[in-house]
C-alpha cells in the first residue's frame, strides 16, 4: 500500500504505457490477420493436413520427450559420477542453442552421409532418412528431451531426503520406492512437462522448414511461410495465421489447468542422493546416461569437428552477417529488457494484474503470424526489404518477453517488499532510483534475462525468412549455405553461430553476476 493510493506512481504509469503499447502491437497485428483472413473458407485439404500434422507431431514429440526423460532423470537423480554436474548444466544448453545449428548436427549424424547410415550400409541394412516427419520428431526430441530431464530431475530432488530414508528403514525394494515415492511425484510433474513441450512444438517453424515440408510434414507455421513466400497468397497466409492463433489460444486454455514448471532455475544439485539400487539397475542407469549424453553431445561434436577448421576461410559475407546478427540481437535484448523491467516494476506494486496478462500475450502470437500481420499492416509504406530487419528485431524482443518476465517479476516483487518503503521514504525516484537501487539489486535476473533474449534473438531463424533479404542474418546465411549444399562452410558457420549465441548468453549472465 504505497503512496500511490493517491495517484498512479511513475513506475506504474510506465508499466501501464508499456503494457498498452505491447497489447496494441500484438492484438492490433492479430486483428489485422483476422481481417485479412476473411474466414477459413480459403483453406484447402493441404492446409488442414498441416493443422493435423502440427497437432500430432507436437503430441508425439511431447510424449517421447517426457517419456524418455523419466529414466534419464531417475538415473541422474540417484547416481553420482565425475562430470555429472557438467552434464546437468549441458542439459540446459539446448534452450539457447540455435535451432538451425542443431539441425546441422542432426544431419551430420543421422543424414545420408552421417555415421548412423554408414553403419547401416556396412551392415547391409536399409538406410534411414532424416527428412520427413521422423526428422521433425527427432529434432523436437533432441531439443526437448534435455529440458524435460531437467524438469523431471527437479521433481526427483524435490522429494524430501527423509522420505527416502524412511523407505530405506522400512526395507523398500526399488519397485516399492517407485510406487510410493516416485510415481506420485511423476503424476504431479509429467503433465506440466508434456504440456510445455507440446506448446513449444505447436509453433515449430525452423525444424519443419529444414527437415520437413511436403504434404506429410508441414506445420501450420511452415504453411504460412509457404503461402506467403511461394504463392504470395496473403489471404491464405492470414487464414492459416488465424488457425495458428486458435491452436495457441486453445493450448493456453489447456495450460490454465496444468502448472507448467519453469524450464530453468537453480537447485539441481541437492546434497541428498535417493536410494540407489545396485546390480543391473546400476548398469542400466549407466547405459541410459551414456545414451542421453551421446544423443546430446554427438551431433554438436560432429558439427564442431567439421566446422572448426573451416572458420578461418569463411567468406566475408558470413562475417558481415555475423556482425549484423550481433547488433540485432543486442538491440532485441535491450528492448526486451527495457519492456520486461518496466512491466515487472509496475507489477511489483501489485495493483494492476492486467499488466501481467499483457506480458504473456506473446504466447498466443507465433512469430510467423506476427510477421504476416506486420507485413500486411506496413506494406503500404515500406518495402519487404526495408521491413525485414526491424520487424525481426521487434518480434524477437516480444518473443523473449515471457522469459524476461518470468525471471524479473519475482525479483522485482522481493525488491519492492524489502526496499520499496525505505526508497520511498528517502525520496529515491526516477533515474537515481534506477541507478542506485533497481539496477544493482536486479543485476542478476537482468543479466540472465538479457542473456536469454540475446541468445534467442541471435539464433532465431523465423520471421526473417518471410522477407527475402539481401542482408541476411547469420542463421539465414547458414540456412542458405545448407540449401546450396556447401556443407563445409555451413558447418563452420554453425560453429560460429553457436559460439556467438553461447558467448552472448555468457557475457550477459556473467555481467549480471559480477555487477
Amino acid at each position: 500500500m504505497a503512496a500511490g493510493l493517491f495517484r498512479l506512481t511513475r513506475a506504474e504509469a510506465g508499466g501501464a504505457i508499456a503494457a498498452t503499447g505491447l497489447s496494441a502491437l500484438i492484438l492490433g497485428t492479430l486483428a489485422t490477420v483476422a481481417w485479412a483472413a476473411q474466414g477459413l473458407a480459403g483453406l484447402g485439404p493441404w492446409d488442414w493436413r498441416a493443422v493435423w500434422f502440427t497437432l500430432w507431431q507436437a503430441a508425439l514429440s511431447a510424449t517421447l520427450s517426457a517419456g524418455l526423460a523419466v529414466p534419464v532423470a531417475r538415473a541422474l537423480a540417484r547416481r553420482r559420477f565425475p562430470g555429472r554436474s557438467a552434464l546437468v548444466t549441458l542439459l540446459g544448453a539446448p534452450f539457447i542453442l540455435p535451432v538451425i545449428v542443431a539441425i546441422m548436427g542432426l544431419v551430420a549424424v543421422f543424414g545420408r552421409n552421417g555415421a548412423i547410415n554408414d553403419v547401416l550400409r556396412f551392415a547391409g541394412l536399409p538406410e534411414i532418412s532424416i527428412y520427413g516427419w521422423q526428422g521433425v520428431i527427432l529434432a523436437h526430441v533432441f531439443f526437448n528431451l534435455p529440458l524435460s530431464v531437467r524438469l523431471v530431475l527437479q521433481g526427483w530432488q524435490a522429494i524430501p531426503a527423509e522420505r527416502f530414508r524412511l523407505a530405506a528403514s522400512l526395507g523398500f525394494a526399488p519397485r516399492n520406492v517407485a510406487r510410493h515415492l516416485e510415481r506420485p511425484m511423476l503424476r504431479a510433474v509429467l503433465p506440466g512437462v508434456w504440456l510445455a513441450v507440446f506448446l513449444v512444438c505447436l509453433t515449430s517453424f525452423t525444424v519443419a522448414l529444414a527437415l520437413g515440408g511436403g504434404p506429410r510434414a508441414t506445420t501450420v507455421e511452415l504453411a504460412i511461410y509457404q503461402a506467403f513466400r511461394f504463392d504470395f497468397d496473403l489471404g491464405r497466409a492470414a487464414s492459416l495465421g488465424l488457425v495458428q492463433i486458435a491452436i495457441c489460444v486453445a493450448a493456453m486454455a489447456l495450460a490454465r489447468w496444468v502448472a507448467i514448471p519453469a524450464a530453468f532455475g537453480a537447485g539441481l544439485d541437492a546434497d541428498h542422493i535417493p536410494a540407489a539400487p545396485g546390480g543391473w539397475h546400476r548398469i542400466s542407469d549407466m547405459f541410459v546416461i551414456t545414451a542421453a549424453a551421446g544423443f546430446l553431445i554427438w551431433p554438436m561434436a560432429a558439427v564442431t569437428l567439421r566446422g572448426l577448421p573451416q572458420i578461418a576461410v569463411l567468406p566475408p559475407e558470413v562475417w558481415q552477417a555475423a556482425g549484423r546478427s550481433v547488433v540485432m540481437a543486442l538491440i532485441s535484448a535491450l528492448l526486451a529488457l527495457t519492456l520486461s523491467l518496466t512491466l515487472a516494476l509496475s507489477l511489483a506494486r501489485g495493483r494492476m494484474r492486467w499488466i501481467e496478462t499483457a506480458g504473456m500475450l506473446p504466447l498466443i502470437a507465433s512469430p510467423l503470424v506476427l510477421g504476416t500481420g506486420l507485413f500486411i499492416l506496413l506494406r503500404g509504406w515500406f518495402s519487404p526489404q526495408a521491413l525485414a530487419l526491424p520487424v525481426t528485431v521487434a518480434i524477437n524482443a516480444v518473443m523473449a518477453l515471457p522469459f524476461g518476465l518470468r525471471a524479473l517479476i519475482p525479483a522485482a516483487r522481493t525488491l519492492h517488499q524489502d526496499y520499496g518503503r525505505l526508497a520511498d521514504s528517502l525520496d529515491l525516484r526516477g533515474w537515481a532510483r534506477l541507478r542506485y537501487l533497481t539496477l544493482p539489486r536486479l543485476a542478476r535476473p537482468l543479466g540472465f534475462a538479457g542473456g536469454l533474449a540475446a541468445a534467442l534473438a541471435m539464433g532465431d531463424l523465423g520471421v526473417i525468412t518471410l522477407f527475402a533479404s539481401d542482408r541476411p542474418t547469420l542463421p539465414l546465411q547458414l540456412y542458405q549455405l545448407m540449401s546450396s549444399y556447401r556443407m563445409d562452410d555451413a558447418s563452420a558457420c554453425a560453429v560460429l553461430l553457436m559460439a556467438i549465441s553461447f558467448g552472448l548468453f555468457w557475457i550477459f549472465d556473467q555481467g549480471g553476476r559480477l555487477a
Binding site: 500500500m1 504505497a2 503512496a3 526496499y419 528517502l426 525520496d427 529515491l428 525516484r429 537515481a432 542506485y436
Partner: protein, 230 residues
Amino acid sequence: MLEFDGIRVTRGSFTLSADLSVPTGARVAVIGPSGSGKSTLLSLVGGFLAPDRGRIRVDGEDITALPPGQRPVSMLFQDQNLFPHLTVAQNVGLGLRPDLRLSDPQRARVTQVLEEVGLEGLEARRPANLSGGQQGRVALARVLLRARPVLLLDEPFAALGPALKAEMLALLARIADGTGATVLMVTHDPEDARSFAPQTILVEGGVAHPPVPTGPLLDNPPPGLRAYLG
C-alpha cells in the same frame, strides 16, 4: 506539533481512528496488542497508507497528500534500513541527496555525522561487513543528517541484544534532543517505553488514544493492555 485530525482507516475488518496531537520535541511510545494498528499509525505519518478520512498536520502544515519522501519525516524500520549494495557513505549520503551528487561540503557533512555516531573511517564499507550495532549506527547517522522534524521508529533494533539495544536507544535520544525532533516509537517492550519515552499512545480496540504519561499507564494498565503485557 504533530496532529491526527479526525483520522479514520478501514481495511477489510480492520479499523483505526485517531484524533490526537503530539507536542513538538516530545518522545512518545506507541504501545498496544499485536494487530491493533501501531504500525498503521506510523504508516499514516510516513505516507505509506492514505487515511479514508481526516488530515495529518506537522507544525500546522497539511501533509496528508504528500508522497513519503517529501514529508518532513524520517523513518526507521524493523529491518532493512540500509541498502546492502551501497557503501556506508552512500547509504548516509542518500539522506542529503537521493541522486548522490554530493558537493564537497555535503561530503564533509557525511563524514562528520559518521564520526558523531562513532563510525569514523568506515565510509567505504558495505553493510554486510559491519556488526549489527554498527549497521544501526549507520541508519541513525542518516536520521541525524536528514534532521527532519518528525522521527518514526517501527520497532527498530528489535533484532539486537538488550545491551546493544539500550545503547542504540541512548544514541537515538541524544540525536532526537539535538535535532529537536518529535519521536513516535512503536515498541513491544514496556522497559523501552519507560526508559525512552515520557509519554505513551495506547492503540487498542481500533482507537489510538491521546498520549498519557508512560509510568502511570504501565503501572496501572487498562484491561486490554494488561492482558497483552501479561
